[in-house]
Symmetry: C2
């Protein structure tokens, strides 16, 4: 619903000045409230007063057309109904409004085709930049966006190329915390559940697991189970069943969804945590709080994901063209409960 009402022209007529002057005053008013230089105090005040009286709202489309920027950024996530991403979405949104930016979201469901389509739609909409959680197979599309000099920030995962900014977790460290917690509680047979998607975050989490197992001299027990994103419950169940049989003592989960699936599976098997199986989860999740045992988990700084990504985006948008790419690596924390053993 555009303002069918007051335009800059109405104000100009009312004030007896040119529309250029009105435009000038309106803009300087917001930018430098104090020094309304170049326009006489009085004229300026009069224009502002009239604008207010006439309930003037600038027409966004006109400004966009003229300036070539929309003050909108597109954010493409894996799935906005996943708690981890909706938390981030919330932060991005709140912060964007402060910058006077608007955000539009899209969810890929880890499908490169959907991602490409969203990118196309968002670019057609004229977004000033894109914050993207890349999925498997989206590397080429991402590369094209970067090459087209569209401001771009990757989040949660990177695609291992130079020149693209990203905000990621220190994933190796995250998992080392998890493995260490289990090892410290006396477990030796510690295994990991991850996805079969070759995403940077998953790869790094696996690497963190392997490395820590080695450092702990437990590498003979190293085993990673890679789950299909589309058949989580089914496959996690099977892994858990077999693990209990094989006498596995501890499990590290690579994501919150896997953690929840794992706990459910253990429940169904009647396996007690931590007595019969010790586990460390990933991400904060309100669901963990309902579990019979308090969960030990790796906590990601969700707010920082959002705020760092947005801040980076703002830098790129307002950026000098020789703006370098920046990678922000966030630090996870271990929250200790009982599920990992004493």
């Amino acid at each position: 619903m555009m303002n069918k009402k007051t335009t800059i022209k109405d104000i100009a007529a009312e004030a007896g000045v040119s529309i250029a002057l009105v435009s000038f005053v309106m803009n300087n008013q917001s930018r430098n409230p104090e020094k309304t230089y170049k326009v006489s105090e009085e004229t300026s005040r009069r224009i502002l007063e009239i604008a207010k009286r006439l309930d003037y709202h600038p027409n966004n489309a006109a400004r966009t057309l003229r300036q070539g920027k929309t003050n909108t950024i597109g954010v493409i996530l894996s799935d906005i109904s996943n708690k981890f991403f909706s938390d981030i979405a919330r932060c991005i949104e709140d912060r964007a409004y402060k910058y006077n930016y608007t955000v539009i979201f899209g969810s890929t469901d880890e499908n490169a085709g959907k991602l490409e389509n969203l990118v196309k739609v968002f670019i057609d909409k004229g977004v000033d930049g894109l914050i993207i959680v890349p999925c498997v197979g989206s590397e080429k599309c991402i590369r094209q966006i970067a090459d087209a000099r569209i401001p771009l920030v990757l989040m949660d995962r990177h695609i291992g190329e130079e020149g693209i900014s990203s905000v990621v977790l220190n994933n190796r460290y995250a998992v080392s915390l998890a493995v260490t917690a289990l090892a410290d509680s006396g477990c030796s047979k510690i295994e990991m559940i991850a996805y079969n998607m070759r995403l940077s975050n998953i790869i790094d989490r696996e690497a963190g697991y392997r490395q820590t197992m080695k450092e702990m001299k437990l590498d003979e027990h190293t085993a990673i189970h890679r789950i299909d994103y589309r058949r989580i419950d089914e496959q996690v169940s099977e892994v858990m069943r077999s693990a209990v049989e094989r006498g596995v003592e501890g499990f590290v989960f690579a994501t919150n969804t896997l953690t929840i699936a794992g706990l459910k599976a253990l429940d169904r098997l009647g396996t007690a945590v931590p007595e019969q199986m010790r586990i460390v989860g990933f991400d904060d999740n309100e669901a963990f709080e309902l579990y019979r045992t308090s969960i030990t988990y790796v906590s990601q700084p969700v707010e920082q994901f959002g705020s760092e990504a947005l801040d980076l985006m703002m830098k790129h948008i307002s950026g000098k063209e020789h703006m370098q790419s920046i990678t922000v690596t966030l630090k996870p924390q271990l929250v200790t409960g009982n599920s990992s053993g004493k």
Copy 2:
């Protein structure tokens, strides 16, 4: 990032026709792919071919400026990081893209000030319509939007006024299902936990509880505990503590957040569900699945919330001006677990 590249003008030059013709062809191409009437087959094809070759993307801002509509709708929710709302958000988003619409979200945290501010920002952005989850104190603002003839659909709650479309749950029925389940399992002392906010959905849920208790001849035990939205854990804990002492047998929770808080509180008290306390929760929630006992809960048709709200919005936007308001009432379902007793 606007297309700094191909415009309708470039295509016109290349094809040796006027820009008007190009515009005409581009639009009719999408609307009536078969009958490209009024333009010769050949010219039409040539223009389309050139457009494709030059990678033409229409400039959204220009079209918006001209047509006075943005193909964007604003959705104002309570909190997009709450699972119930993020599920709805996801549905709205997916569906909106099919209509070639874009969605921008905002969260109020049940704060009327934030709501008003979001409304202002969204209207300034030029949204074609607003889907809003109203909060306490927002009635006047909502009324103004409606009076300004801005397409409007309320969701989850209404404000009890004529002439405003909304999509809500049959809340009385929802809670009657819950109370009946508990009564059928043999409970008499059934109480309810709700919010102290006087929102239509809460009010109706309370009414459903009262009415059903009466019908079951249990009204002597009727008791509603109203929680402050900002101090949920603390107050729910206290209610649960006192309830256990008083020998309450069953609890109906009015929302998913309250359900989770209640289960956590009972855990801390060492009260077993359903042996020592029977409960019925609200909303589907993955967290429920981690609880030691399967939860009985009232399920809301989340997808329908999103799709009905969006469809209504589309009707309003494309609407004949004498478009009447429509209220869609959705039907909840009881999902039976063990928490409500046998």
